[in-house]
């Protein structure tokens, strides 16, 4: 069963003078075993959506279907514990969740909570740490002695160690160095492929969206305004810019050339674009 949002609305602190709307009239699907990217301007409701996906909050109206469970206003929050065994959610700036004495213990914390044995948790934790490129020497260090980027990796490992079927990441690369960003995104895409996971990533970096996403959902002011493949979403650059969203470089370059009268088939792949241009140049020379 795909992940499905139907007429979902969510209000923070509903029924108090501080009530503020997080989401309204949200309808979209997340295909299983694919890489889905959620994009949208700041405050458009992406993080709120992720919390609903993990059953951390329950929709105020409408329903969310995720992994054989339906969440709606009258769902008891206790019944969502079981859902979280299969969902791994990495929050925005997850460094704030580290608390154990050592890196290894912190990564083992999640699996232990969900009933893994000590040996199993340790083995899963070590595997997760290797995935995020942290070598064995980090295991016995205090997470608070690490750099910001290393802490981020530990926090991500802490969720990967849960071995979720549905992996959700909220701006996992924000504030990292360019290589770290590319490495992490590549890791999520690889895990998705190899383990047939459903991966949902919130990101502002359209290059990654163009490169890895199979499905894209666009948020604006608390609701979903468009969904589709990256090719469909990036087809209309002007529409995206109106929503203060970036357009991938390849697409921008194609647009500029098209404006100058060079007819190109739209693509998001750099190699394909290069091939087309090379073909044009050669074609021009041959004539």
């Amino acid at each position: 069963m795909a992940i499905n949002f139907q007429e979902v609305g969510f209000t923070y602190q509903a029924g108090t003078p501080f009530a503020s709307e997080g989401l309204h009239d949200v309808n979209f699907k997340i295909p299983l075993q694919q890489f889905t990217a959620l994009i949208g301007h700041t405050g458009s409701g992406k993080s709120t959506t992720l919390q609903l996906l993990d059953g951390l909050t329950i929709p105020t109206v409408g329903k969310v279907e995720v992994l054989n469970q339906t969440l709606q206003a009258d769902t008891l929050i206790k019944t969502t514990n079981q859902l979280r065994e299969h969902v791994g959610l990495v929050f925005q700036f997850p460094e704030a969740q580290l608390f154990e004495d050592t890196v290894l213990a912190d990564v083992m914390f999640g699996p232990l909570n969900f009933g893994a044995s000590k040996t199993e948790a340790k083995q899963r934790a070590q595997e997760a740490l290797r995935l995020v490129d942290l070598s064995a020497e980090f295991e016995s260090q205090s997470p608070f002695d690490l750099s910001g980027g290393q802490m981020r990796r530990v926090a991500i490992a802490g969720v990967l160690a849960l071995e979720p079927e549905l992996l959700i990441l909220d701006e996992p690369t924000a504030g990292l160095d360019p290589k770290g960003q590319a490495d992490l995104m590549a890791l999520f895409a690889r895990l998705q492929q190899e383990r047939h996971l459903t991966v949902v990533v919130v990101t502002h970096q359209m290059e990654f969206v163009a490169q890895y996403a199979q499905h894209v959902v666009v948020f604006e002011q608390g609701t979903v305004v468009k969904e589709g493949t990256p090719a469909e979403i990036f087809a209309d650059s002007a529409w995206l810019r109106e929503r203060q969203l970036d357009v991938p470089m390849v697409r921008q370059f194609t647009d500029l050339l098209t404006q100058k009268g060079v007819a190109l088939t739209p693509t998001l792949d750099l190699d394909q674009l290069t091939d087309q241009i090379v073909a044009k140049i050669q074609g021009g020379r041959d004539v």
């Binding site: 602190q13 108090t16 003078p17 501080f18 919390q51 993990d54 951390l56 206790k78 514990n81 979280r84 065994e85 969902v87 791994g88 959610l89 929050f91 997850p94 704030a96 969740q97 580290l98 608390f99 914390f109 999640g110 909570n113 969900f114 608070f144 802490g158 969720v159 849960l162």
Partner: protein, 268 residues
């Protein structure tokens, strides 16, 4: 789960009470705690309740907000009342079981205490709901000025208070985020026995404290980098101006208190 805590939360508004000078509200709220002890007879309780209700209505925030504010304290109130009822043993006996007895005096006292408690909480809630925390800190600083003469570091204390008040919402938001992050990692709050519940909070409190300390150090560094010194004459960004409304409010309270004293004189 943290955002349900309403005590000490400010709800912006434009009512007459909102617009009063924070100093008036602070003085009245503190004085009220003492003045209420003048109430000893039913007419005086009625008078004090009417005054309180009027003030509550004038804030324009609706009774529900106040009820929510009282809810966390209801057990404390009931406990105090129960103690009064059980341990005041003079007057006609209504009910007895072994050494436990409920007497008329006990019940009357209990109800009286309950009403006093309720009124004090309501008035204090009016203060915190209608006054921006920083205004409150400023008001405290100004009212404490005389203590400067005997060497009390009033400015520093006020700064500490404003910083603390300023960071309460930040800390609550952060606590909420960390709670969610740990729930995502399988921590179950509000489940299991007391020990398990307390233990569940360790993964929240450690990061919360570490971040709070980090933030405090950063704030200290930033203030030092800009040459902040507490011991010099400082001017204020927010100026408070005493207005006619403030005088009227203070006078009304004085009249209310005199009437209460008079009721006591008449009814004993």
């Amino acid at each position: 789960m943290f955002n349900k805590i309403l005590i000490g939360r400010f709800i912006p508004g434009h009512s007459l009470v909102h617009r009063l000078d924070a100093r008036v509200k602070l003085i009245v709220s503190i004085a009220f705690i003492f003045v209420i002890f003048l109430a000893t007879s039913w007419p005086s309780y009625l008078w004090a309740s009417a005054f309180t209700l009027l003030v509550v209505m004038m804030t324009g925030l609706g009774l529900r907000v106040y009820l929510r504010g009282i809810r966390p304290l209801i057990y404390l109130m009931l406990f105090t009342t129960a103690l009064q009822i059980l341990f005041v043993t003079t007057g006609p006996i209504w009910w007895q079981w072994g050494w436990l007895k409920i007497t008329e005096d006990g019940v009357v006292n209990g109800i009286a205490i309950f009403i006093r408690f309720l009124l004090i909480i309501l008035i204090s809630t009016v203060l915190t709901l209608t006054t921006a925390p920083l205004d409150l800190a400023d008001a405290m600083e100004q009212l404490l000025q005389p203590l400067k003469k005997i060497g009390v570091p009033v400015a520093e204390l006020a700064l500490m208070l404003s910083i603390a008040l300023r960071f309460i919402p930040t800390l609550l938001d952060e606590a909420e985020k960390i709670v969610n992050a740990q729930r995502a990692r399988g921590v179950r709050f509000n489940e299991g026995n007391l020990l398990q519940r307390v233990k569940a909070f360790v993964p929240v409190l450690i990061p919360l404290f570490i971040n709070a300390i980090k933030r405090a150090i950063e704030l200290g560094d930033a203030m030092e980098a800009r040459g902040y010194r507490g011991d010099v004459e400082r001017t204020k960004y927010r100026q408070h101006h005493w207005q006619i409304n403030d005088t009227v409010a203070l006078l009304s309270f004085i009249i209310f208190s005199c009437a209460l004293a008079w009721l006591r004189y008449i009814f004993g």
